[in-house]
C-alpha cells in the first residue's frame, strides 16, 4: 500500500460526512434514483418502431431501444396489461392482440420486478363474444397464464365512476378497478381496420376498460375516445402491427381464411398515445389527420400527432 492511497483522518471524516449528507439529502428528497438511474428525457425516444421480426423479438428490441423495462415497471408494483381481446377470433384474423406479444410483455414486467401482472379486456359481447370464448380463441389466456399473468375476465361489478377533467362530451366514465388501482398501465392494442372509426389502435383500445362504452357510440365515438385520455393515459403503449386486418374490422371474419390481413411485422412503442396512433395510422396507409379521434386528441394536447416533431428511433431486424 502506497502513501498516496492512504487517507488522513481529516479526509476520511470530511468525505464520509459529505457522502452521508448527500445520501441523507437524497433520501429526504425521496428520489434515490436521482443518481442511480436518472431519467434523461432527452435520451428516451418519443417513439420506437421495430419491423421485420417476430412479435416477442421485436418487443424486446423496442424495450431495449426505449431504455429498458425498468423505466416503466419498478420492483413490487402491480401492472395492468390491456390487450385487445374484444372478439372471439383466432390470432390469424388479426382482430386481437398477438398472444406471443402479450406473453413477452408479462414476462418482462415480472423480470423488472413487478409484484402482479393482470391481463384483461372488456369483450364486445354481441359476437359470440362471451369472455371465455374471446380469451380462449385469441390465445391470450393461455399465453398470459404461461407467463404467470393473472387473467381477469370482465364482469359488471368491478367498475368505479370517475370524472374526466375537461372532457368535452365524455364527462364521467366508469373505469375498471384494475386500471384505477394498478401502479402501471400498459396498453397493448392491435392495429386494425375499424368500421366505425376507420382504425382501431391505442386510444380506441381504451374503450375496453370502461363499462358504459355505449355512451361513446351514442354521443360521438371520436370525441369520447379522445376525451378519455384527459383522464388517464397509459404509462406505455405497445402497438401490435404484426398481422394487420385491412378490412372488415373490428371483428374480421371468424374464418381466418377470409381475413384480409397484411403481414406488416411491425411493433410500435411510445409513452405518447397520440404519437403512437399517428405512426400506426401511417403504417396502415392512412393519414393521422383523417382519423377523427387522433386529430381531436392532438388538438386537446393529449399528445403530438406530428411525427416530424418527434424523436423517433427505428430498427429493422
Amino acid at each position: 500500500m502506497t502513501t498516496s492511497d492512504k487517507f488522513s483522518r481529516r479526509e476520511v471524516l470530511s468525505k464520509g460526512l459529505t457522502l452521508g449528507l448527500m445520501a441523507g439529502g437524497i433520501l429526504i428528497l425521496g428520489k434515490p434514483d436521482f443518481l442511480i438511474a436518472r431519467d434523461r428525457p432527452s435520451a428516451i425516444p418519443d417513439l420506437v418502431a421495430v419491423r421485420n421480426g417476430e412479435p416477442d423479438v421485436m418487443f424486446k428490441k423496442a424495450v431495449e431501444l426505449m431504455g429498458g423495462m425498468n423505466l416503466f415497471v419498478r420492483k413490487g408494483q402491480t401492472v395492468a396489461v390491456k390487450p385487445n381481446i374484444g372478439f372471439p377470433r383466432v390470432p390469424e384474423v388479426g382482430a386481437t392482440t398477438n398472444p406471443l406479444l402479450v406473453k413477452s410483455i408479462v414476462e418482462s414486467c415480472y423480470a423488472a420486478g413487478a409484484k402482479r401482472v393482470y391481463v384483461f379486456d372488456n369483450v364486445v359481447t354481441a359476437t359470440s363474444g362471451n369472455t371465455r370464448n374471446c380469451y380462449r380463441l385469441s390465445g391470450i389466456e393461455q399465453a398470459a397464464k404461461a407467463a404467470h399473468g393473472i387473467v381477469v375476465p370482465m364482469d359488471d361489478f368491478s367498475y368505479r365512476k370517475v370524472t374526466i377533467p375537461g372532457g368535452k362530451t365524455l364527462k364521467t366514465v366508469e373505469v375498471h378497478k384494475l386500471i384505477l388501482d394498478s401502479d402501471v398501465f400498459i396498453n397493448v392494442p392491435v392495429l386494425k381496420h375499424h368500421s366505425s372509426t376507420h382504425l382501431s389502435i391505442a386510444m380506441k383500445n381504451l374503450m375496453g376498460i370502461v363499462k358504459n362504452r355505449m355512451e361513446y357510440h351514442l354521443t360521438g365515438l371520436d370525441q369520447c375516445i379522445a376525451d378519455f385520455c384527459l383522464y388517464r393515459k397509459p404509462d406505455l403503449n405497445v402497438v401490435d402491427a404484426y398481422r394487420v386486418l385491412m378490412s372488415n374490422g373490428p371483428a374480421g371474419p371468424s374464418n381466418p381464411q377470409y381475413a384480409n390481413v397484411q403481414m406488416k411485422k411491425t411493433l410500435l412503442m411510445s409513452k405518447d398515445i397520440v404519437a403512437v396512433d399517428a405512426a400506426a395510422a401511417k403504417i396502415f396507409g392512412k393519414e393521422p389527420e383523417d382519423i377523427g379521434y387522433i386529430q381531436i386528441a392532438h388538438r386537446q394536447k393529449t399528445g403530438n400527432m406530428n411525427l416530424k416533431e418527434l424523436k423517433i428511433v427505428t430498427f429493422t431486424m
Partner: protein
C-alpha cells in the same frame, strides 16, 4: 297384542320382495331425476347428451314428437311407456316422471321434519281428470297447446329448473366469483335468462300447490289435473299385472290405506283403483298380512269391481283418441291454432321454421332456455297469443343469438326447434333488421357510432363514408335476424330492430372479396415516417 307383533316384524323384515321393489323404484327414479337435474343444469354438453336420452321416455314430448316429426327413438319411447303401463300399470308415474319423483322427495323431506301424514282413501275425481284429459287432447289436436303447456308434468318440471334452480345456481356462482376476487382468483361469470314475472308467478303457484297437496294428500295432482296421469290411468284399467287386495286375508288394519299416496286403496271394500295407483309399491311393504298382491290380472280376486260402464268408457276413449289420430292432419289440427294465434308474434329460434309450427309443437319445457349460452331464449307470457302460453321466444332486448351456436335445436325434445346444422343456421333468416334513420345517431348527429356494424356477423351492415363519417346501411339479403345489432344499438328506443319473419327465410351467403395476392408478404420497404 299378537297382531302388533306381526306388524312390527313385518316392517322390519328385509329382503322381502316388496321392500326390494321399493328400493328398485327409489334407485331408478333417483337416477332419472338426477338425469333431469343434469339435463337442465349440467351445462351445454351434458344437456345435449341427455336430451337425446331422457325426453324420448317422457309421455308428452314422445307423443308430440311422434305425431309431428316421427323419430325412431321417440316412437319407441312412446310405445315403451304405453307398453309398461299396459303390463304393470302406472309405474311411469313413480319411476320415470320427474315431477312425481320431486313430489316423493318433498314428501320424504316433510316426513323427516316431523310431518307424518296418514293418507286416506278418496273418491276418484273422474269427471275432473277425464275432462282435463279430453280438453288437453282436443286442444292439442286443434293446435292449442296452453293446457298441455301448463299441466304436462315433464314441461312443468322443466320450468321449475329454468325459472328457479338455474337463476339460483347462476346467482350463487356469480356471488362466489365476487367473493374469490380479493384472493386474486378470477373466474368467468355465468348468464341466466330473465324470466317474465307472470311466468314466474304461474310456476311458483303450481309448484307450491303441487308440493302442498303432495305433502298433505299425496299424489292428488297426478290424479286430478295431470293429463299424463289421466291418460296412463285409462291404460292401466286394463293392465296385465295388477294389485289385488284379498278380502279373506285383510285384517282391516288400514295400514295400506295410510301409506297410499294415490289414495286409491279402500280396505272397507277391499278394492284398489288401478287407474289411480302410481305403482309406488308402498302398500305391498306395509301390509303385514300379505293381503295385497301384485300379480297377473286373470288371477285377480273377485273383490275387484268390474263395471261394464267403465269398460265402455275405456273403449269409448280409445275410439275417440283413435279417430282424432286418424283425422290428424296439419290443416285440421291447425284450425283453432290459426284462429287464436297472435297477430304480432315474436321472433322464433332458428330451426323452428315458422311461428305457427313452433307454437303448435312447443310445450314450454324451457330446456332451450337453460341451454342457450347467450340467454336470448326467454320464456314468453302471451306473446304467441293464447295458443302458445309460456313458450320461449327470442328476446333481443337482453341478448342476441350467437352466430356460432345451434344448441337449442339439439336439445328441443318436441321438435318445435328442429335440429339444423350450423351451416344452415348461419343462413336461416328468422327475422330482418330494419334501420330507423330518423333516430340513428349517425344520421341525426353526424357522429361516428357504428356499434351495429361492429357486431354484425353476416356483413349485412355496410358503411358509406361521407366526409370521414361512416353511415350504416343494411343489406337485408345477408341479415339473419340474430339481433346482435339491436343489442349493440345505443339509442333509446333502438334505431335498429329485428322484425320477425312468421315464416323463416333463407339468407344469401356473403362472399368476401379475396385477399390480394401480396397481402401475406410485407408490403412496405421501410417505415412510412
Amino acid at each position: 297384542m299378537k297382531k302388533k307383533e306381526i306388524i312390527s316384524r313385518s316392517i322390519r323384515r328385509s329382503g322381502h320382495p316388496a321392500a326390494r321393489l321399493i328400493t328398485l323404484r327409489q334407485v331408478i327414479s333417483g337416477i332419472v331425476f338426477i338425469g333431469f337435474v343434469l339435463l337442465f343444469l349440467g351445462g351445454e354438453k351434458l344437456s345435449v347428451f341427455l336430451a337425446a336420452i331422457l325426453p324420448p321416455f317422457q309421455l308428452m314430448p314422445a307423443l308430440i314428437r311422434s305425431i309431428t316429426q316421427p323419430a325412431a327413438l321417440f316412437i319407441a319411447g312412446l310405445m315403451f311407456i304405453i307398453l309398461i303401463t299396459l303390463i304393470f300399470g302406472r309405474v311411469y308415474c313413480s319411476f320415470l316422471c320427474p315431477l312425481g319423483t320431486l313430489q316423493d322427495i318433498v314428501t320424504v323431506l316433510a316426513r323427516r321434519t316431523g310431518r307424518k301424514p296418514a293418507y286416506a282413501f278418496s273418491r276418484p275425481q273422474n269427471i275432473l281428470r277425464y275432462t282435463v284429459l279430453a280438453l288437453t287432447v282436443a286442444a292439442l289436436f286443434t293446435g292449442i297447446l296452453w293446457l298441455a303447456n301448463l299441466l304436462d308434468p315433464y314441461s312443468f318440471t322443466g320450468r321449475i329448473f329454468s325459472h328457479f334452480f338455474q337463476p339460483l345456481l347462476v346467482w350463487s356462482y356469480n356471488l362466489g366469483i365476487i367473493l374469490l376476487r380479493p384472493l386474486n382468483i378470477f373466474l368467468y361469470p355465468k348468464q341466466t335468462a330473465s324470466i317474465p314475472l307472470p311466468d314466474m308467478a304461474i310456476a311458483a303457484f303450481f309448484l307450491l300447490t303441487i308440493l302442498y297437496l303432495s305433502v298433505k294428500y299425496g299424489r292428488l295432482y297426478c290424479n286430478t289435473l295431470c293429463p299424463a296421469g289421466a291418460f296412463l290411468g285409462l291404460l292401466s284399467h286394463v293392465s296385465i299385472f295388477r294389485l289385488a287386495l284379498s278380502k279373506e286375508r285383510c285384517s282391516k288394519c288400514n295400514r295400506c290405506e295410510s301409506v297410499c299416496k294415490a289414495g286409491c286403496i279402500n280396505p272397507q271394500t277391499a278394492s284398489i283403483d288401478m287407474s289411480r295407483c302410481v305403482g309406488c309399491c308402498n302398500c305391498l311393504d306395509a301390509c303385514s298380512m300379505s293381503a295385497i298382491n301384485y300379480r297377473l290380472a286373470w288371477r285377480r280376486t273377485k273383490s275387484t269391481s268390474w263395471s261394464p260402464a267403465r269398460r265402455g268408457f275405456i273403449f269409448g276413449s280409445f275410439a275417440v283418441a283413435g279417430t282424432l289420430l286418424a283425422v290428424f292432419h296439419r290443416d285440421i289440427r291447425n284450425v283453432a291454432g290459426i284462429v287464436l294465434a297472435s297477430s304480432d308474434p315474436p321472433v322464433t329460434p332458428p330451426g323452428s321454421l315458422n311461428v305457427e309450427r313452433f307454437s303448435q309443437t312447443c310445450t314450454a319445457c324451457c330446456l332451450c332456455v337453460t341451454a342457450c349460452p347467450t340467454s336470448v331464449l326467454t320464456p314468453s307470457f302471451l306473446d304467441y297469443g293464447p295458443v302458445g302460453l309460456l313458450q320461449p321466444k327470442m328476446n333481443y332486448e337482453k341478448s342476441y343469438c350467437d352466430y356460432e351456436c345451434n344448441v337449442c335445436g339439439k336439445v328441443c325434445p318436441t321438435g318445435a326447434i328442429s335440429r339444423i346444422t350450423l351451416a344452415d343456421k348461419k343462413l336461416t333468416q328468422i327475422g330482418e333488421a330494419k334501420l330507423r334513420k330518423d333516430i340513428c345517431v349517425v344520421y341525426v348527429n353526424h357522429n361516428n357510432c357504428g356499434a351495429c356494424g361492429e357486431v354484425c356477423p353476416t356483413h349485412a351492415i355496410r358503411f358509406t363514408d361521407r366526409e370521414n363519417i361512416l353511415y350504416p346501411e343494411i343489406d337485408k339479403q345477408y341479415c339473419i335476424g340474430c339481433g346482435a345489432c339491436q343489442l349493440a344499438c345505443p339509442t333509446t328506443p333502438r334505431s335498429i330492430v329485428v322484425h320477425p319473419h312468421p315464416v323463416h327465410k333463407k339468407a344469401d351467403k356473403y362472399i368476401a372479396p379475396k385477399p390480394t395476392a401480396d397481402s401475406k408478404k410485407p408490403s412496405d420497404k421501410d417505415f412510412p415516417f
